[in-house]
Symmetry: C2
Subunit: 515 residues, 2 copies
């Protein structure tokens, strides 16, 4: 939020009418808004006109204006009494495939008043994007998916407001960011072509629109804006990440990577931006996503193995008895296994070192991470060779995509990056040290890495509090170069090298200890 | 309608998606529309997006687009199958204070398919603008007035469509023109300040908006546009008249006068436009309007008196027995009385010439136009000296306003006018010869005068068939100079001269015979 920015709520004075000047009340209001906003385009909605004359006179030609923008102009969202003493609120939403997070923000003080998380209720229909899009193509399916998510957001907005002593009727603006499919389903727009060659979304820039049009239960006349996407595999969540990380303002090249269902990467500075998204072609089918993301009480999130004693330590969320492992735990585990010599550079278990930790499950080698007696489920928690192969492919895919976009496309070396931002909920749990050890992330000075946290939510919130954010997003959309990942022979060669631990080219990872 | 203009319905081809070009369907559609319309601003409404992908593919990327405009951009109103074989209709409405007229027009062939007239149902609440605005200020009054007119328009649209074998669901666009008060009441916008000093309308440029927002019962997503007004006493009806008369395209200065409830005048050419409206100040209170306008069967519309025999001849509408006299009949009557010497140059009855036609009603001299035995009411139809004085004031006001705007303001002589257009329903019944004889209109070559007819309806219809009309209206609004009639000593002096028949300065009316 720039300190000079005055936000979307402004107290304005409207010129009083006198004889000899026949400007209409609405024109006077428009003039006052244009002057206040230093713009030549303001849209005043119909509904604000009906009682404008009596309101202006009752308020002595002063008013509190709640504003927003669309692609063509500023938009008056509501006009309130200058003494309006209720909070003027906005809601920012991270529309994740698995998890949705909502923040309520005071648009005047720009303070975050509360946050609530919820599982995306569309999960009941399909766990992933593909299953939901297939469902959306059945009769009534699209409507069902939209209603599920909107109803759930409405309900949680109410809960959040109740908790904070607020009222959903005081929410004037809603901003949201999600991947391209989630954006379409949230808006009730056909999404089927997204997953069919040539992978065409219906909309890349959803217009600012009345929230009531998609069923959001906020103040009458309130507006909703979802972040635009760059393409089917490059969603508004990453655009939110770009403005949240200020990538578009950087003097030196930086990189943002969102390790979510796919790997989405942007590299650039104030002068140029290049973007690339992961799920492309059979080599990476489900690639990054298979590492899993579901976190919850009892899920193992960090793992360490003593390289000498090979003693295994796990930590679980809320320190409950372990019941499974999440993505960040898997990366920790793989790093610990590699650094303790329990897997080799090809990512295969070494029986003589794993010893009794290695068993067979349905004839497949499996590493016992938690023994049955220590497990919350009564069963041992194991990592099979198949799971590990999948992780190996994922980490190799991640590194190869980074290499393609930074080296082959941008013509940089990893060392040229001034900052390496790791975005997304999953990203915020990754231990960079572990990710580097397995060759998933490049071996850079650890101070270069920065965890952005929920940058999708952060960007959506910024959109409510900083009036320059809208124009930045539109400008980024115009200038960004989107690279379709070309899975050709060269890519496959690079990918093969990256499937080793940490890499066939050992010199790239000088800080990773030799085992 | 310009022949080169292609109207608001266009068949377009949308570029088919291919791999390597990640433009969204909506962007392809936007590109196709921008190219077709040669514009850089097109607004595609939300509702058109939901099923766009399947529709585009089903239609093989061809479509019939129904368009319109607003102040900021072109607007896609609906997207139809390229083979859509129902008529694509628009409705043009003249929103008169007394009478409303509706035309239904085929937007593709630009043919007028039917017309229907109806009394403005708000008359039941108040006969004139003033009474209705007062009513609108009572609790619920505004809503009541709006609902009356909208319900009646909806009903008559249905009747008109039924008569023509059409369906209101095929009406995509509605355009309307009325005076400032009627425009506000039609839109349900507070109108009270219009009649209170300093006479400020709420809105001068009503935005194009979904017809459903004001309750018009046409196709879902259809749009409505009402002509903007220049001020409280200068309505959209006259802007409609300007484009209908092509005043804004004239090489030589021309004049449009709308003799309705008020006298509204515009003079100008393609280079400049000056406007002025009548009802301003006590001198003209009710001025022009008192001549009456109500026409119907049995109402006398033309009068002649033989200058030698003083034989009176009247003609009635539908040739029914006479029951009263309308405005144009009054002007004929005054001219005939003056030219036969029955009134003097001050507009007073001359008893020795009127003879037995002159009686007294409640001690006021009255001219018997129709004797009781010939009257449809059984009572004589009379013109009292009070009625005549009122007409004298009205005609003097008309002439003075014309003189002020043409001579004092524009610096022209009446003879400089290449055309003198008489607009409005009332105007179309005036006999210019009579109006000149009494000094109401200037004594110009009769070929200069042209009756425009219902120019308000004509302009509204033009708005549906000619896509340049919208921009012309907005340009006219920007460039027109609106003169508030300044009723000062100079005006009163001019007004005094004009109260004579035809004028104190007899030389101004060389073609009017000496009596």
């Amino acid at each position: 939020m720039s300190l000079s920015d005055q936000g979307y709520v402004r107290t304005i004075g409207i010129e009083q009418p006198v004889l000899g000047n026949n400007l209409a009340d609405s024109q006077r209001l428009e003039m006052a808004l244009k002057k206040e906003l230093d713009t030549d385009q303001v849209h005043i909605p119909w509904a604000q006109l009906a009682s404008l004359p009596s309101r202006l006179r009752q308020w002595d030609f002063q008013a509190k204006a709640v504003l927003f923008k669309d692609r063509r102009s500023w938009r008056l969202t509501d006009l309130l009494s200058p003494g309006h003493d209720r909070p003027v609120l906005g809601a920012a939403i991270d529309i994740g495939t698995t998890r949705i997070v909502i923040q309520v923000i005071n648009l005047e003080t720009r303070e975050i008043l509360g946050e609530i998380g919820l599982d995306n209720p569309q999960t009941a229909i399909g766990p992933d994007v593909l299953a939901r899009i297939h469902h959306s193509n059945k009769p009534g399916g699209l409507k069902e998916l939209q209603e599920l998510v909107i109803a759930s957001v409405n309900q949680h907005l109410r809960v959040l407001c109740n908790e904070q002593g607020l009222d959903t009727n005081d929410i004037f603006l809603v901003t949201g960011a999600g991947n391209t499919a989630m954006t379409h389903l949230f808006l009730g727009i056909e999404a089927f072509e997204i997953i069919k060659e040539p992978y065409i979304p219906c909309v890349n820039i959803p217009d600012t629109t009345p929230a009531s049009e998609i069923g959001l239960d906020i103040r009458k006349g309130g507006l909703v804006f979802l972040f635009p996407n760059i393409g089917s595999y490059f969603g508004g969540d990453l655009l939110a990440g770009i403005i949240y990380s200020d990538l578009d303002k950087k003097e030196e090249p930086c990189l943002v990577v969102d390790v979510g269902t796919n790997a989405e990467i942007v590299v650039g500075s104030k002068d140029w931006l290049i973007a690339c998204a992961g799920a492309a072609g059979p080599a990476l089918e489900g690639g990054v996503s298979k590492m899993g993301m579901t976190a919850g009480p009892g899920v193992i999130d960090t793992v360490s193995i003593d390289p000498d004693t090979r003693q295994v330590e796990v930590h679980t969320i809320e320190e409950q008895p372990p019941i499974g492992i999440c993505g960040s735990g898997m990366i920790d585990l793989a790093a610990a296994l590699f650094l303790s010599g329990m897997i080799d550079i090809r990512g295969k278990f070494v029986p003589e070192i794993c010893k009794d930790r290695l068993i067979e499950q349905e004839e497949i080698p499996a590493f016992v991470l938690v023994r049955a007696e220590d497990s919350g489920t009564g069963e041992p928690i194991c990592l099979t060779q198949v799971d590990l192969n999948s992780l190996t492919s994922s980490k190799a895919a991640m590194y190869t995509i980074l290499e393609v976009i930074v080296k082959n496309t941008s013509g940089l070396e990893f060392e040229d990056l001034a900052k390496f931002y790791v975005a997304g909920t999953f990203g915020s749990f990754i231990n960079p040290e572990s990710a580097i050890s397995i060759g998933m992330l490049p071996d850079l000075d650890r101070r270069v890495f920065e965890v952005l946290g929920n940058s999708s939510l952060g960007g959506a919130a910024l959109m409510l509090t900083d009036t320059t954010a809208f124009d930045r997003v539109m400008a980024i959309r115009e200038t960004i170069t989107y690279i379709e990942l070309n899975v050709n022979q060269e890519f496959m060669n690079m990918f093969s090298g990256a499937k080793f631990y940490p890499h066939t080219d050992r010199a790239r990872f000088p800080s990773v200890p030799e085992v």
